[in-house]
Amino acid sequence: MTLMRYAEALNAALREEMQRDASVFLFGEDIGRYGGVFKVSKDLRDEFGDARVRDTPISEQALTAMAVTAAMSGTRPVLEIMYADFLPLSLDALVNQASVFTYLWEGQVDIPFVLRTQGGGGVGTGAQHAKSLDAMVCHIPGIKVVAPATPADAKGLLKSAIRDRQPVVFLEHKLLYNTRGEVPDGDEVLVPIGKAKTVVEGKHVSIFASSKMVIEAENAARLLAKDGIEAEVIDLRTLRPLDLDAIRQSIAKTNHAVVVNEGWTFCGYASELSATIMEHCFDDLDAPVARVAMPDMAIPYSEPLEMAVLPNAVKIAAAAKKALA
C-alpha cells in the first residue's frame, strides 16, 4: 500500500497504462506542458513526449469526435475535458458516434477510449464550473460511466477503463483531488467496472452514493449513529452499468433506501436509481425511496448559497431519519 492523493493515483494509473500499452495516448487542454489544471497528467509529457501527451485547442466537440475516430483506428485515447460542465459539447460524439458505431458496423469496430472529466461544487466556481452532469452521460446506452470516491478506486477503475473495449466516461470531483488514501501497489491491481462497494455496514437504512457524495454519506452515517441508527453506505463506484445485486442485497437487509447524487433532482441520476430500486426491490421497501440531490436551479456563485443548496451529510441524515420514522 502507498498513501497517495486522488490526483496522484490517477497520474500513476495513466503512467502505468502508457508504459504497458504504446497505443495509449493523452490529449486535452493544458494537460501537457502545464500538467493539467488539477495536475493529473503532471510530468507525463516529459516521460512520454508530446506525441503521446498532446495539448489541444479549446473545442470539446472536436476533441471528443477525435477520440472516437482515434479509438476506431486502433489506439486507446484518454481525453481530458477540463470541466464536466462542458460535457454537453461532447454529447454528439457520445450519443451519435461512440455509443452506436459498434452496433452500426456489426461489431467490426471497438471504441476503446476514456473521457476523463471533473465536476461538482463546493469551492465557489459558480453556475458554469461546478455542475454534476452524471445523468446526461448515464442516459446513453453503450457508454460506461464510473465515478470513484477514493484514490484506490480512482487508480484501479481508470486502469480498467483504459483497458475496456467500450467508451468509458470517467467522472472525477474537484474536491477529491487532494484527498488521500491507501492505494494497493502493483501494476495489475484493477478495480472492475460495474461493482459497488459497501463502505459502511449497517442494518437500518441503505445510503447509495458515488464520488464525493460517498464522503457525505459516511458523515451522515456517523450523525445517524449518534441516534442509534446503523446506516449502510454503498459506494456505487460505477454509475452505469449498475451493480443491481449489491443494491438488492443491501435493501433486503435494511428495507430502507436513500439515494444521493450531486446532480439535479428532476430526471437526475438519483431519480433513475430510485426508479430502479422501486422496480427491483418493491416488496422489500418499508418506506418510499428518498432522493437527496441538488435542487433544480443554477448553482449560486456565492459560496454560502452554494453550500446551502448542495446535498450534504445533514440532508442525507434527515432523509434517512424521515424514511425510518
Partner: protein
C-alpha cells in the same frame, strides 16, 4: 386572528430552506411567550424558535425532518385551537411542483402519546410493500394493525408487533407439501476469480445468506461458493427422503463446480453434510471447518427443529431464533424481520417441516458421522459454542487427536454469528495452514 410563526431572521438572509428538527409542541397545546415551539436546522446550527406571544397552537404546517422554504409559515398560535385565520393565510403561498414546497400536514394533537391507527384512504390501508408482504404471509389483517410512523403508513415493525398480539385462533390454513421441483441446487458465487475456492453449506431452516459474517471477508481472497440446500433459499423445493439422498445432492452440486482443493465449511446440518462430503471426496477437499456440526451423536433439540421450520409469524420465529444464540440481544427486530422475510413463503416452510421430520424423526439425528470423523485426511477444525441449545457440543469430544477443537464459552449454536471475528480467525488460520 392567529399569529403565524416563521423562522424569521434566525434563518439567515442567504438561506433558501431550513430543516425542521423537532416539534416541542403539538396542536392544541397552550404556550406562554418565550416557550420553545420547535427546533430548526440552519446552515450554521440548530436553533430553537420561541413563541412570540401566549396562546394555543392551532395548526402545524410541516412535519419534523422536512425541509421547507426559509420564509414558510411553520405553525399558528391562536386564541384557541380553532383559531386558524391569519394574515396571508387565505391564498396558500405554496408553489406547486417545487420539491422544496412544504406539505401541509395536520399533526394530531398529542401525536406521540397515542399512535395513530393506520390511515385508510378510500377503503385502502396505507402500508409499506414490505409490511404488506409480511402481513400477507403471517395471515394478519392490516386493518387491525396500528401504524407507528408519522407518515400514517404501516411499517414492518408494526406488523411484527401485531403478529405477537394476534389471537391464537387466527392461525393460517395448513399449506400442503408443494410438488417436487427439479433442477440443480443453487450455488451463489462471489469473491475473487483466482483465490483458492471456499465451499459453504448452511444449516437446517437457514440459507446461504447466514454466511454473511464470514463470506464477505473470505470473498476478499477466495472464490466463495455458497450452497442453498433443497427446500432452502433459492434452491428447488423437493423432498430428499433420507440423509444419504441429501448427501448425494450436495455432492452433485459440489462436483458440478469442478473445484480443486476446496476449503469446505459447514454449519449444523451443513456440518454433517460437509463431513460426509470430505469422507467421499477426500482429494477434492483441502480443509474442513465444522461449525456446531450435526451427526456426532443422536440428540437434537426436536422442538427447535419443528418450531423454527413451522414458524409462520415474526413472533414465533423470534422465540426459536433466540434458542439458537446465547446473547439474546443479537436477535433484534431487524434480525427477526430479515429472517422472517426469508421464510415468508408458506410452501418453503411446509417443505422444510417435512424435511425436518424426515431427517430428525423423533427428535433424533438419523445419521451418524462419528466414523467419518475418524477417517478424515484433511486438516479439520470443529468450532462449537458451549451454550448450544440445539446440538450437544460434547459430540466434538469424539474427534481424533489431529482435529482442532474450539469450544467457545458463552456462545450458542451459531458461532459464526455470535463470535464472527474469532470464527473468521479460526477459518483463516486453518486455510493458511494447508
Amino acid at each position: 386572528m392567529a399569529t403565524p410563526i416563521t423562522a424569521g431572521a434566525v434563518a439567515g438572509e442567504y438561506m433558501e430552506t431550513l430543516v425542521i428538527v423537532e416539534w416541542r409542541v403539538g396542536v392544541g397545546d397552550t404556550v406562554a411567550e418565550g416557550d420553545v415551539l420547535l427546533t430548526i436546522e440552519t446552515a450554521k446550527a440548530a436553533v430553537d424558535i420561541e413563541a412570540p406571544c401566549a396562546g394555543v397552537v392551532s395548526a402545524i404546517f410541516a412535519e419534523a425532518d422536512s425541509e421547507v422554504p426559509a420564509a414558510a409559515v411553520l405553525c399558528l398560535i391562536g386564541t384557541d385551537s380553532s383559531d386558524v385565520d391569519y394574515d396571508g393565510g387565505e391564498t396558500p403561498t405554496v408553489e406547486s411542483g417545487l420539491s422544496s414546497a412544504p406539505a401541509t400536514v395536520a399533526v394530531a394533537a398529542g401525536g406521540a402519546a397515542e399512535a395513530p391507527r393506520a390511515a385508510v384512504t378510500s377503503g385502502r390501508v396505507l402500508a409499506s410493500p414490505a409490511a404488506r408482504r409480511a402481513a400477507s404471509s403471517a395471515g394478519i389483517d392490516l386493518r387491525a394493525v396500528r401504524a407507528s410512523s408519522p407518515s400514517g403508513r404501516i411499517k414492518l415493525r408494526d406488523v411484527a408487533e401485531a403478529s405477537q398480539r394476534a389471537p391464537l385462533f387466527a392461525v393460517q390454513a395448513p399449506v400442503d407439501l408443494p410438488a417436487d421441483e427439479h433442477g440443480p441446487l443453487k450455488v451463489h458465487r462471489s469473491g475473487t476469480a483466482s483465490g483458492t475456492p471456499v465451499f459453504l453449506i448452511h444449516g437446517f431452516a437457514s440459507d446461504s445468506l447466514s454466511w454473511y459474517p464470514l463470506d464477505r471477508h473470505l470473498a476478499k481472497n477466495h472464490a466463495v461458493y455458497r450452497l442453498d440446500l433443497p427446500n432452502h433459499g433459492a434452491s428447488p423445493k423437493r423432498q430428499v427422503g433420507s440423509f444419504a439422498n441429501l448427501v448425494r445432492e450436495v455432492r452433485e452440486a459440489f462436483d458440478a463446480l469442478d473445484l480443486d482443493g476446496a476449503h469446505v465449511i459447514g454449519h449444523s446440518l451443513g456440518g454433517a453434510l460437509a463431513l460426509a462430503l470430505a469422507d467421499t471426496r477426500p482429494r477434492k477437499v483441502a480443509s474442513l471447518a465444522l461449525f456446531a456440526p450435526g451427526g456426532l451423536g443422536p440428540r437434537v433439540n426436536g422442538d427447535f427443529i419443528g418450531g423454527i421450520a413451522r414458524a409462520s409469524r415474526p413472533g414465533s420465529l423470534e422465540a426459536w431464533l433466540k434458542v439458537m444464540v446465547h446473547d439474546q440481544k443479537l436477535i433484534d427486530p431487524a434480525f427477526v424481520n430479515a429472517a422472517f422475510a426469508a421464510r415468508a413463503d408458506a410452501e418453503l416452510r411446509a417443505a422444510q417441516s417435512h424435511m425436518g421430520e424426515t431427517l430428525f424423526a423423533d427428535g433424533t439425528q438419523s445419521f451418524d458421522l462419528a466414523a467419518a470423523l475418524q477417517r478424515l485426511e484433511c486438516p479439520t477444525r470443529i468450532v462449537w459454542g458451549r451454550r448450544d441449545r440445539v446440538l450437544d457440543w460434547r459430540g466434538a469430544l469424539q474427534a481424533p487427536g489431529q482435529v482442532g477443537l474450539h469450544l467457545l464459552p458463552d456462545v450458542g449454536h451459531v458461532p459464526q454469528l455470535e463470535a464472527p471475528d474469532l470464527s473468521l480467525g479460526i477459518v483463516t488460520a486453518l486455510i493458511k495452514s494447508v
